[in-house]
Symmetry: C2
Subunit: 279 residues, 2 copies
């Protein structure tokens, strides 16, 4: 019997003195797909419909970064250190190359993985994410909601989904799917939240004299950039800038959707992702 999102056991791999939690399942063929999650999120914040759908054609690997939920250690407070941790985990798993999917802060980490460890990544998926020097969200409600001690359904409906009734219903359906697994991780700690917030704050400004976005020209991997048309957390125009500056990047934008567009349109996203990965 093969594993699924709800049955794949949580495993641990030791890297540099800490134990990183991960789950790995799917069809062992080709290049595995490695997932890096959003602000404060871990393995149980993914959508089973997406992970199991992708696992039909490849192995999928979910993981928690250092100090996040079921992983031990002191949370990283720099994006570059998070990226190096990801590379170390990939190598510790004995993998030569992966496809890398990063969502939100996970996308920024994924960009740094390909810039710092390009040999490890075959293809790159960047979802609801940004880039150094990008445009920032202006509504003060965003940081207020995103830092609630215990993120609730209503918070995700506001932060991740479109404003129509259909979009909000899709958000609730996602919420139910993501709770299907019984043995969920503990929530990540306030320390992890503070460390990730610091990492984003330090990473985001352009460096002195830097021309916006040209650093992305160094990414040679085929890349798929996806977002909703109105992302309240990381403005959608940043996805345009990503695709304009990563040489081999496709851009896909979904209507009536926000930061978590892939969770709102899981079947549509799945087909787009599979087409990209199999091409």
């Amino acid at each position: 019997m093969s594993d699924t999102h709800v049955t794949a056991p949580t495993q641990y791999i030791e890297v540099d003195g800490d134990r990183f939690a991960y789950r790995r399942w799917g069809k062992p063929s080709g290049v595995p797909l490695f997932f890096v999650q959003h602000f404060r999120g871990g393995m149980d914040n993914w959508d089973p419909l997406i992970t199991d759908g992708l696992a039909e054609g490849r192995e999928v690997i979910l993981f928690n970064g250092r100090g996040l939920a079921s992983s031990s250690g002191t949370p990283r407070d720099r994006i570059e250190d998070m990226a190096d941790d990801i590379a170390a985990v990939i190598r510790a798993l004995g993998l030569e190359q992966i496809d890398l999917l990063g969502f939100s802060i996970g996308g920024i980490q994924a960009e740094e993985v390909v810039l710092r460890h390009p040999e490890l990544v075959r293809k790159l998926l960047l979802i609801g994410t940004g880039l150094r020097g990008g445009e920032v969200a202006v509504d003060p409600k965003v940081p207020e909601v995103a830092t609630h001690p215990v993120p609730a359904l209503e918070d995700f409906l506001y932060l991740f989904f479109g404003r129509s009734e259909a979009a909000q219903e899709a958000g609730k359906a996602f919420w139910e799917r993501r709770h299907q697994r019984v043995d969920q991780d503990p929530p990540s700690s306030p320390e992890l939240m503070m460390a990730q917030a610091e990492a984003v704050a330090v990473y985001s400004p352009l460096r002195p004299g830097e021309t916006p976005y040209v650093y992305l020209n160094a990414i040679t991997q085929p890349t798929l950039v996806i977002n909703g048309e109105d992302d309240v957390m990381i403005p959608s125009i940043n996805s345009w800038h990503l695709a304009q500056n990563i040489p081999d990047a496709q851009l896909i934008i979904y209507p009536d959707a926000g930061h978590g567009a892939q969770f709102q349109y899981p079947e549509r996203f799945l087909k787009h992702a599979v087409q990209f990965l199999d091409e």
Copy 2:
């Protein structure tokens, strides 16, 4: 034996005193897909790989507008009149509803068809196109090349394709495909070119007091907007504006590609278009 791009006979239908040339083939199921071509282009400027690929799941209909190539009549010099002609041809063919694919000036016509005759269109594909009040191309080489008396391969390689060697090779492969049919249409006339140029010039400026792009909010059809990342004819950012203002529009942008991105990546485009039409 079923027809294909190279064998489908040229037929004619009379509308309002003129004979419109069209070709129609494919699987007779569901809603036919109606194609509206670029500046000066007609039925033989499409890519057989795309038309035949789409014809596997539906009927496809190519046509020439009034006074274009094998169609009789005085060329239209207003976008709205071209749109009304398209609606009249669809009705004359006995069709209640179509999916509508417009490329470049054909895209602008398609937008006016859905605005003026919304009941005729189920889904809308807008490729390498713009919108009223959009950003305009600034390189004077574009109108110079686009108005060459006899458009040559080199002209299309500049106007339609990316700048890399691979992109240019893909352009040459398209050029060969589009010449596979033996009995090609005559080229369209200088009068047609002048009329289309006048239509675009008159249509493009915002109307007095008009807020940019809000007129697109009235389009209720599911829409797929596609372009290359650097369209020298109609700047790619217009595709962003289309997707931001048509309520149910997806946006897809292809890398290293320009105005004719669908001809550069025909297999990729075909899958995206089929997914959109079948969803």
